[in-house]
Amino acid sequence: MSDTVLQVEELHAGYGHVEVLRGVSLRVDRGELVTVIGANGAGKSTLLKSIVGMVSPWEGRVVFGDRDISNISPEKAVRSGVALVPEGRLLFGAMSVEENLELGAYASRRGEGAAAMSRVCELFPVLSERRTQSAATLSGGEQQMLAVGRALMSNPRLLLLDEPSLGLAPRVISEIFAALDVLRASGMTILLVEQDARLALKHADRGYVMRTGRVALEGSSTALLANDDVRLIYLGGWNGPNDARADTELGG
């Protein structure tokens, strides 16, 4: 087996007639935490959705391990070992925390659920405290932990996360990212989509910068954090959409 867990090759995808991904290629190796950063609308979420089949790719390939999963359905993707923590969490709000986690193990073999459950509760102890509460009554941070926990329940070989920091307080965000560090240390392979570039790069091994449906830059996290363009546009130096420098310097 190769050490590449996920290989995305020249992926094109979109909605209706609107092309959102215009040939994206990236690679995630075993045990890596790789992040995809970029502004709103750059296609980051669409990229994750096309990997798991919530959006059907128009062209290009998605290879997971040795297997071409370009036209897989979401329910098959999780069975083959790719779990997505979706944007907006998509929890089963009327159901209890425990039921949400149990459903997370729906795709895995019987008997594996209990072990996964204790691992998730060890990672997020608050979830076991809230076991019988309905997911809708959790705080935003707890809901995000539950969303991550639910995805982990399937024992994935690749964990995809879509904007886990969205709408959360800084203290809660650092809790979630601390958990991602723990997961990575335990050998989990993670592809993280984040709008908060600085945060994502601080925790990732490597990063890709997406811009209008393409990968504009890639490199190690340290290189990207030091890159002038990245600093200018994504780490707080940008003056808004009319900033001419930004448009020309990263224009494809």
């Binding site: 329910e75 997505l84 709000g93 009327a94 159901m95 149990e102 459903l103 997370g104």
Partner: protein, 307 residues
């Protein structure tokens, strides 16, 4: 309305004494249990597809007709014939979904509703061709009647209560504690989220049609000994069950049961206090009133909740 003599005064001067009122109430609850089963069928399919299945009443018809067929033609003993009738009805529900609902891939609710209306006509014509146009009956599960505080209740009605109660308990158990039931609920709450954990929504839709058909079939089996059945009884059960589901609140199983019992009681009270002429109009009037005044139903909202 209670006068000093312990009599209840109807609007048109009908007087009803207490045992008689109880008699009406029991009759109402008996019909209400049947409506509840049909309403549950509507609710289950609605929760998984967002579609009102207007063939639901035909499942009641088929439950009766297929049980009669298994009993009279195959010569099976009554319990076995009933079981076979209900299971075959469930199978018809599954086949109906696979042939008529699943091919419509976009899931457009309006198109699907019209498909169910067509399916309803098809099923009743098929039943007429296969089983003939005459009324059919089954023997009662138990003969005789019991006396409850002066009101007399046929033992068959006890069977109806029992079957409805067991169905509701089993259904509740399934939805609350089984992996399949939880998956069906998850699918109703959020289809995309369900797919992300590995649940096949199409499989859940097929199963929900099968389950709805089994509930309808049970209703048909339970009523046939009392009221007979024929190829054309489906639509009236459908309307009653639909009104009950709307009255309770679509998409919520408990509301469906309460809606069914309430509708049954209201109907029989209207017979007691107004006139039996209007019995069938009552459910339509209630349906319209609820849709105008309280479209979410009496007993809470829908199960389609999001975080």
């Amino acid at each position: 309305m209670i006068s000093s003599t312990g009599l209840f005064q109807g609007r048109h001067g009908k007087t009803v004494d207490t045992p008689e009122l109880l008699q009406f109430a029991l009759a109402g609850l008996k019909n209400g249990s049947i409506y509840a089963l049909v309403a549950l069928g509507f609710t289950i399919v609605y929760a998984s597809t967002g579609v009102l299945n207007f063939a639901q009443g035909e499942f009641v018809m088929l439950g009766g007709m297929l049980s009669v067929w298994a009993y009279s033609t195959l010569g099976l003993p009554l319990p076995l014939a009933g079981l076979l009738g209900v299971l075959l009805t469930g199978l018809v529900g599954v086949i109906f979904e696979l042939l008529a609902i699943r091919p419509r891939k976009d899931g457009d609710p309006l198109a699907l509703i019209i498909i169910t209306v067509g399916g309803s006509m098809l099923l009743s014509s098929l039943a007429r061709h296969l089983f003939g146009p005459t009324e059919k009956a089954l023997p009662r599960f138990s003969e005789g009647s019991v006396n409850i505080f002066g009101a007399s209740l046929e033992r068959q009605s006890l069977w109806i209560f029992g079957i409805a109660a067991v169905a509701v308990v089993l259904l509740t158990f399934m939805y609350s504690y089984t992996r399949l039931g939880k998956a069906m609920r998850a699918c109703a709450i959020d289809r995309n989220a369900a797919r992300l954990v590995g649940i096949e929504p199409r499989m859940m839709v097929t199963l929900s049609f099968g389950l709805a058909a089994i509930l309808g079939g049970l209703a048909g089996l339970a009523t046939t000994p009392l009221t007979q059945t024929a190829f054309n009884v489906g639509p009236s059960f459908g309307v009653k069950g639909f009104a009950a589901a709307i009255l309770g609140g679509l998409g919520n199983p408990f509301a469906a049961v309460l809606g069914g019992l309430t509708l049954g009681l209201l109907e029989s009270m209207s017979v007691a206090f107004i006139s039996s002429t209007y019995k069938d109009a009552i459910s339509l009037i209630i349906l319209l009133l609820v849709l105008f005044v309280r479209p979410q139903g009496l007993f809470g909202g829908s199960s389609r909740q999001k975080v």
